[in-house]
Amino acid sequence: MPVYSEKVMDHFLNPRNVGEIEDADGIGEVGNPVCGDMMTFYIKVKDNHLSDVKFKTFGCGAAIAVSSIVSEMAKGKTLEEARKITPSLVAEELQGLPKNKYHCSNLGAQALNKAIDDYLKKQGKMVKSKGRRKDEKK
């Protein structure tokens, strides 16, 4: 078993915001089962705020914990604030992740961003994808 922090274990054993949003305003799917992890984020947006965030994740303990903490971090935030949830912030919030699980925190931040992109696109507000942020690693 990898050495996970208490916070990772808590979010893995009691994941917050699991599920789908039927009438989601934005959906973001990243990863694929062949690599071992796949995450789908669903968001509801009200007055530029993330009024609801839900996720479904296929993957290891870290992937599930990351999805849960990202959903918790994002909920209630403005879209701009939610964009600032970086992989390193996610890892920090989880009291660290084993080195070989760090890619899971990237996936979480990416999935949320993709859901926001999807929302903006649907609203016709999407200018251009900014691409990967600096601190995102493949």
Partner: protein, 395 residues
Amino acid sequence: MRKVYLDNAATTPILPEVLQAMLPYLKDAYGNPQSLHGWGDEAREAIEDARGKVAALVGSQPEEIIFTSSGTESNNFAIKGLAMAQQSKGKHIVVSAIEHFSVLHSARTLEKWGFEMTQVPVDKHGLVDPKEVARSLRKDTVLVSVMHANSEVGTIQPIREIAGLVKEAGAVFHTDAVATAGTMPVDVRELGMDALSLAGNQFYGPKGVGALWLKKGMRIIPFLDGGVQEGGWRAGTENVPAIVGLGKAAELAKTEMESGMAHLSTLRDRLIEGLLSRIEHVILTGHPTRRLPGNASFCVEFIEGEAMLMLLSQRGIAASSGSACTSRALKVSHVLTAMGIPAEVAQGSLLFSFGREDTEEDVDYVLEALPPIVDRLRQMSPLYAKFLKAQKGGK
């Protein structure tokens, strides 16, 4: 909380009798077997006694047993040492695609040293077709290595047939019997190989000790150079307590083999039957009948192995998985891949390996604990959601 250890493929526990046999050699009987005095005599006699017991387990002569530090060392020694000793005859070796990394990676090292390697494929049950081995043999083939059984999926190979074909072609045949020696009958004369690896911690002996059986007259290059220990084939002061432990474990394994196998296969069949009937979309991996008595391996679709292991661990159950997330290299098991199992299915790999201490109540406990774990992870899984939607749409 109940504790259920079903990871005997990783290591078996050490038997109390084995520990008792070892203790004197960790304390007062500390002599070096090479020393020419009473302390040395005592240690030397102890390792020769162990050699006889290990030889009896595999049906060999005592002088054909070389003690090593592990199954991994035995495999490295055999693959590299046998190939290097034959290189004037040719530089081609053959291994199966599902060998342990200590065989596969040794073969890759030989490639770097100028050898050519052929990997023989396996079928969907993990079985090596002897015809495929025959097809891979060339004039310059000097060594073939096929494992007796695979510990991840349990499949037992038709070793005798393969040994016959290899011998006919004039090559040396090695078998990694780490998963079988001490668990099921292994008789080197009957099976007809030239070298065989085994490891103590697979049959209730200590870790850090293994053996290579090498047929008398076989040429091999020593892996460790140094003194005259093990007839000069394996230098280094002998690990006397561990060797004594291996000997004791071999003796017990031989006397209790029949009842041990019956016990393990009862548990295995109870778990396989129970799990397949309780959980949908579970695939039994490995061969349905030609399998290790203690091996129950599956792929649970739509979820990932590490998450299952963590939740099982919460219930006190120890198992293992060949999923990418459970491996440090983040790669799905090469065994499952070689069997043609799609990567996303292989992510749900789950292996239960039984030992002598496990009981039918333990099996029932797993059968009760696992279904809610699978349900819970499937409820979280986008793959399962997609599958359900597709199924609904199809109807």
